[in-house]
Symmetry: C2
Subunit: 310 residues, 2 copies
């Protein structure tokens, strides 16, 4: 019997208990699954999201792994009591939703769609946008999500540059790494997409000096993490026109406070952290698969590298 | 020496003379190219667009072919003096631009982008859109452009249905033909895209009875030809909400008169025939390639079927 603790906010339990039981059944495991934990020493696995009942992992002496429901684990990694193997969520639905949101918002800007959405005033402004192959897009972060988005944009013929901490090699994408590479990518990007994990190195990577490296009029799209951006530096750049528009799905504080300057800014589009959501069905299958692997002595998929922070 | 008459409006000559001469040189042809025609009997090929100097093709007794600069040839086919072989323009840039415009406008509706573009009012409406794989899109017309758009949407995981006069077989697309097939496609489409050629059979195909077959709240996107739609039937359907939005790039009369109801309608987006444009560079290469083929005794590419009308 495998004892699994569902250590996440109550709303997640409502969403996950049925699909997670089904997924665990489907991989043939003999298990208990509960959101309440009478005895931490009995627990074999924790399915985890921040904001739930567990903040101290010390009592879970027999647990084999913590399986995060979230793709971004920066809040979890910083918990010093967590020394167990930790896995990130990698969910097909997550990448699909992200590709759709990113592609849609890139095309909105590429096609200059707003001037038609807002300009229904009887004036026939016949000027076609350039083709995608004449447009350079940079994706910072080439993990599962960044890579999927970069490839989808390349399939639409955009000239796609990618940047990541470790050098990657992805078909159809011109890949860069290190600081020199970042400078080159920033200097060419007409549309810049942030899909980096949040680490000490990437926090406020979009700051005054990196913004200055962008072409005048560049567009920023952030479906990654709010703190990747220095908000004040971004607002200054929007006001000078150095950045012409920012489409932001994630923020330092969420929900974004109704008084925040982003809401009323004409060059900012706020979307409420909807670029991509973990879907209970597919996420449950991933968790069940990983527990089955661990029970069979195989390595866990999507293990977090604590040193890198993701 | 091959004598080529450029029979198109003057503005086209300004745009085309340099790239077309270059393209003809590049395929090794010995030619003259002129927009003026002292002697029709000397002309071997006509590069043609409506609105230029030629409306009667009878005097061109030695011409081998008419090469249209336009993809849509309905205005040309109806000219009874034209009995020469006629080719349509098939331009890579044309299909690329169309795929970008169609994908962008589909994603705008799929993602519910407008409520964020218009709703920057401090309210955090956290509701993610469905995934593309949960959304059914229909493409009417599976020629070069329709097929390219259908495949691009399928690559984004949309459930794509296609309909054409002749039954097609395209990977990843569920293809239908004939009237029964059209009824099935209309009944399932959440977003309907018109990329049909304009013929006697397709004129006003979007009429009261076919609109009634659509699901309530369907979205219509027309980058094909204006007369595919009965405008009055569309306006009625928009006003009852049976069609929730129409994004229209083409119209019965262009430019769309500033007094037309479409301009002020909240559920209509007008774009000024920009979904796709023939690009002088790539179009010139296609024309040069086709003339070289004809001179070498090969069949012309993209020959128009006069009976079908395209």
């Amino acid at each position: 019997m495998i004892d699994i603790l569902f250590a996440a906010p109550a709303a997640y339990w409502d969403e996950y208990q049925t699909p997670l039981r089904r997924a665990l059944d489907n991989v043939g495991l003999d298990f208990t699954l509960t959101p309440d934990c009478p005895d931490p020493e009995q627990v074999n696995y924790l399915v985890y999201a921040p904001g739930g009942p567990v903040s101290d992992f010390t009592p879970f002496t027999k647990a084999k792994a913590v399986l995060s429901l979230w793709a971004g684990v920066e809040d979890i990694v910083s918990n010093k009591t967590l020394t167990l193997p930790l896995t990130r969520m990698v969910d097909n639905g997550l990448a699909e939703g992200m590709v759709e949101w990113v592609t849609g918002h890139v095309l909105r800007h590429h096609l200059g769609m707003d001037k038609h959405i807002h300009g229904q005033n009887g004036i026939w402004r016949h000027a076609a946008p350039p083709l995608a192959r004449e447009r350079t897009i940079a994706v910072l972060g080439l993990g599962e999500l960044g890579r999927s988005c970069a490839s989808a944009l390349a399939a639409l013929n955009f000239n796609v540059l990618g940047w990541s901490r470790r050098q990657k090699n992805i078909e159809g994408i011109t890949c860069f790494s290190d600081e020199g590479g970042l400078n080159k990518v920033l200097a060419q990007a007409e549309i810049l997409i942030l899909l980096l994990p949040l680490t000490a190195d990437t926090r406020q990577i979009i700051n005054t000096s990196n913004i200055a490296r962008l072409r005048k009029g560049a567009i920023l799209i952030n479906p990654g993490r709010g703190p990747l951006i220095d908000d004040d530096a971004l607002l200054t750049a929007l006001n000078t026109g150095h950045i012409s528009h920012a489409t932001l799905d994630v923020f330092d504080v969420e929900p974004l406070p109704s008084t925040h300057q982003f809401w009323g800014h004409k060059q900012v589009t706020v979307t409420p952290h909807i670029a991509s959501q973990t879907r209970a069905d597919t996420a449950s299958q991933m968790i069940a698969k990983n527990i089955r692997r661990c029970e069979a002595g195989a390595t866990l998929l999507h293990l977090v590298d604590r040193t890198a922070g993701y």
